[in-house]
Symmetry: D2
Subunit: 260 residues, 4 copies
């Protein structure tokens, strides 16, 4: 089982007097000069953004931060209830459910778009036809078309137009934004009910405009949500709900079996 290949990182290095992150001096060029959104951009793209890029990137990230009471924030609160001394474990527990159901919808939207227009390439042929092909494919496979429609935010998911407005201003409204809107139009026509672009459709399109491979979108969602979960940790410390939920659910779930 022996072999020997290179072990190398290009992210960061340190000497006693200097710390370098993606080629920037942490103390001279980052602290006090780079804000958190730009720092996140730096971690992802290995260079700082310009003003336009930072504005679009921040808009995309802030949408992902906070979603209220969700299975994810409930897992964080449940974990805090048993291990209040291990805040890192509570936040990690909340992140663990960002899988195929929640975070996955963002991956899926970006994947669909990038399957039709490869990153770095341009669309081949008419956009409406590409959209029709995508919709046909999903319908043939009887899979839901990602990025359109929303069970709760009806008739439209207000986050999508808000993101698209920033994309317009920052010139991020390119092929992928066009395509997700075409997919929405085609699906609405074919299925006979309104299926506007939802937040994951808008995010998937904008992430694609940024050149982010679909399978890295989840990382950004996870990082943003870690920020959101800090808020739930703080609130659970101030005004807890986990124990009450546990008592109620335990009582209800076992009532059918317990002798009185």
């Amino acid at each position: 089982m022996k072999r020997k290949s290179e072990i190398r990182t290009d992210i960061a290095w340190a000497t006693p007097s200097k710390i370098s992150i993606h080629g920037l001096d942490l103390c001279e060029e980052i602290i006090g000069k780079v804000d958190l959104g730009r720092m996140t951009f730096l971690q992802v793209f290995r260079r700082l953004p310009d003003q336009r890029e930072a504005r679009m990137f921040d808009a995309m990230m802030v949408v992902l931060v906070e979603h209220g009471i969700t299975p994810s924030s409930l897992a964080t609160r449940m974990t805090l209830c048993g291990a209040p001394e291990a805040v890192q474990a509570a936040i990690a527990a909340g992140l663990l459910g960002l899988g195929s159901v929640f975070a996955g919808s963002l991956d899926n939207a970006a994947r669909m778009l990038q399957s039709a227009i490869p990153l770095g390439g341009g669309p081949e042929g008419d956009m409406r036809e590409i959209a029709e092909r995508l919709v046909d494919d999903y319908r043939t496979r009887k899979e839901p078309i990602p990025g359109i429609g929303h069970p709760f935010h009806k008739p439209i998911d207000p986050r999508a137009p808000a993101l698209f407005a920033v994309a317009e201003e920052t010139e991020y409204s390119g092929h992928y934004v066009t395509l997700i809107n075409e997919v929405s139009a085609v699906a609405t026509a074919q299925l006979g009910r309104p299926l506007p672009v939802n937040v994951t459709g808008a995010m998937g399109a904008i992430a694609s405009e940024f050149g982010l491979a679909w399978n890295t979108c989840r990382g950004l969602a996870v990082a943003a949500r870690a920020i959101g979960l800090v808020g739930h940790v703080l609130e659970e410390f101030r005004n807890p709900m986990a124990e009450e939920i546990y008592f109620r659910i335990e009582d209800e779930a076992t009532r059918h079996a317990r002798p009185e």
Copy 2:
């Protein structure tokens, strides 16, 4: 086991057409208007920061994002090696080690400072005397004094002066910053070797200036590090090291026992 107490969150709520986060309309007042650092501030303090607050907060957060190859980033890379489809699990694994040893040093520095000057209160008595009392306490208990000295960044940890410079400019250089510097001066004199304020001392002082309770500092460290770990996930996908480390370590660790 029955009881019934209120279950309530004040973080966020949604209707089909509106999402409210800490009283702000996500689509109207946050997307495109609030950057990621301010959004993080909002999650923690339940209000947006002004320019001065945002600048100091960003400086504190960016320091926590990236620390290169650490046990934490190695845990993320090891996890990705077995579950590349579950990026959320890889990031969570890296966060789980932010416990008493690493993140804990920040908690400890803030706790020491807040034990001497309660949050919201002012120092009672002379700062030098308070610092002497703290140093005596730790030496009596034979515990290391948090926030001063560094095994690698010698003679000084360059992050501390960089943070203090921003604190000076943004008027965050208050009682706690004074106190950690006094602790450093007293310890240096008493122990006869240079023990300058390190990054966790500077961070603990500034977090205290922000009014953050010591046991919530870890939450911020965890959120910032989640951003950093996204960079390690991306690099591990591009240029993996986990499998090579595993092969080498397995070989070396079992060599003494394996028959040839």
Copy 3:
């Protein structure tokens, strides 16, 4: 940051034709010959148990496996709801809350007993006096005395006598079992209300009889609970509750704020 110390494991090694675990040949000496309880004992004690040891160890482990609907099993179910494809993440999420509140009570009971009678040593002086000293210590520090009393299992926690019965039969009823019973008697007398030994008191005593250091008890609790959480994963797949809990709690928790 250079240095070079030995990296070595004594747990397991493999050649193409043989796998050795704690000195036993997996294929020749373990598979089909060693049951899961003995295998667990082997991992912990680095040798196989005899019949008597296996029986007591199994009794201790099975108590830890399943505790019904708890914050821990709810965290597992919440995580599965978002990431049904990542069962490992759901189980991990449930384990993360086994901290100071739940698993910690077992650690605390064992720690108290081992502080009075060091592992490998015998009691110094009269057991009743040792118990009185322990009770006094905890009352002076205003800390709850671990291992006695139970908020729900009243008047007695039925698991404690069941474990003690096995300890009696298997000759595990030694100093530590005597001591926890004395602690219960002293506390009951001093505090004027029944404070019988509870499950964590019995477990802490028996773990101490096994020579397990108090800070390793949590590991056993975590392993046993991982087994229990598999049952919750299977039930959540068959008959889910996580989404319903989420909908109800989200609705209730935001009702005060949402416009109708």
Copy 4:
């Protein structure tokens, strides 16, 4: 977002004097009477096993417990290095990598077998023909055939015959065991190199004989590995390697960039 469906568990309930797990009285019928392997069987199958079932189940479980130094046990050790007070987090970190690469191979073997012979059904047609169809399918899709061949355990994986021997004795050697052996024979003939059944092939076949759906196999692997990771936690406390690995890797990985 309102609705109201039943929340119910059938795993366990408790009254002050009694705890019931899958219909058994914990104190009367489990403690001291049921060993850990049978308790695990109970959690999975909701009934106790007979002797024959227990023996096969134990054999399957013990194989999964310990795999030496792996990315999984390294993630546990790395996490412990930063959070030695949170053993639950260290074990959880090790479990998180049991995804598509490691635990997934077991799922895949079981899935392949269950796709050919549905659980509860019998094989339709000749076994050799079924195996040929499976091998063709995987080769057409250019996917590796799960459950056969091993990069390290050559010429055969000794765990497979060990498991099959127990299956023979306990009468678990049914359709699925036959099928995985046929798959091995067909693949060996078609691909012109020895591709004997490996451990995941044997486990996947036996799990299928137990009637376990392929997507629940991972749960068993996770539970068994949690036991194994306790051993790594204990060894890391006794004789640590994580910090040394971190120092070496950090040094090597950044050497190309650091100024001397």
